[in-house]
Symmetry: C2
Subunit: 214 residues, 2 copies
């Protein structure tokens, strides 16, 4: 069992969230380059995944199977991989004073399994409580765009994984959940309009990063 | 989300439990032969596993990894695979009037992750509640033997999986949890002394099966 001593942590924990095709990968690359420039040590990671075992779980989650994966199964697998991710990657890095940049974290479970799959929020909250033990990102960059824009971009990348095969109303619900969570915690979330030109998106990211580097 | 209508079920659900080397596989074979003889249709399955996706999760759980699997991860993966197992194998079989014989089920989570790994029972109980939605075996055959006997037998089978590599006090705790659960629900459990000669073990199984076939 991991035990989190929030006092002992010195690194900051940043997450990037948003639906398919909003530019998370590009944003993560930009943030990495910016932090390197600023000589701020950081660890780059992603969910689902981030450790060998979590990546095995990721494969199960994203590979299209003939067998239907139930929403509950999806949620349990997400939190199983997250448990490994927190204990073996996120906490050790934060404790060493490094920053952690994660492409998705708990907010994605609320958005995808809660909003998208319509699972009860209470189930997600109770799993969050005992898996994260209170660990929350210092800052979450939410890249926001209507699903038809994001999905058109994702389509250009070629083959779709199991999640990307969902219909547009699924992603509408995912997006709405993300925005609701952002509204509920405006101190942690920075919502960025992902339909803006890349340079403007990057300007917004820089604003957030500068504030954190202070 | 699966929805369980207990009224609509007609098949019986039998589980075999016990620590490594107590003779579960032999017992399952015997039960199968007995039910075939009695012309009682049944489905034979096992946990973790039972569906393609659940078997992928089983591989993660049982393959020795360099990365330590946390007790919480183990529990979440168990229930993720169980969700698939219930929805795609157990319930459809029971609804069709078939019996289901499963080599392990929820009791194993209480015994291994609760007793063995010392996870809070409350965590297991809340996962059980929302994954099984009240589905319980009609009868559970618990094959009981001291760990040193079971482990000696398991050793003769050759290579050990990740769980079998645990130390003897781990299995003492697992056994104790099984026995506690059996005591708490004597109507469902039939505890069989697995140190008895095979013929006597089989006589006990026949007793239980005859009662169920009435």
């Amino acid at each position: 069992m991991h035990s989190i001593n929030l006092q002992a942590k010195s690194g900051l924990f940043l997450t990037i969230e948003g639906i398919e095709g909003v530019g998370k990968t590009t944003a993560v690359k930009f943030i990495s380059a910016y932090l390197q420039e600023a000589k701020q040590p950081f660890v780059l990671t992603r969910e689902p995944g981030g450790t060998a075992i979590a990546e095995e779980v990721r494969k199960i989650l994203l590979t299209p199977h003939e067998e239907k994966i139930l929403p509950e199964t999806e949620l349990l697998l997400m939190f199983a991989s997250r448990m490994q991710h927190i204990a073996h990657v996120i906490l050790p890095a934060l404790k060493s004073g490094s920053w952690v940049i994660s492409d998705r974290f708990v907010d994605a479970s609320y958005a995808y399994q809660g909003g998208g799959r319509k699972l009860e929020i209470q189930k997600i909250a109770s799993l969050e409580q005992w898996v994260t033990e209170g660990l929350q990102p210092t800052r979450t960059f939410l890249l926001d765009a209507p699903p038809h824009i994001g999905l058109a971009r994702a389509k250009n990348r070629g083959e779709h994984d199991r999640i990307e095969q969902e219909k547009i109303d699924f992603f509408e619900r995912v997006r709405a959940s993300y925005l609701t969570r952002a509204k509920e915690d405006p101190k942690r979330f920075q919502v960025i309009d992902a339909t803006l030109p890349l340079l403007e998106v990057q300007t917004e990211l820089v604003k957030g990063l500068r504030e954190l580097l202070k």
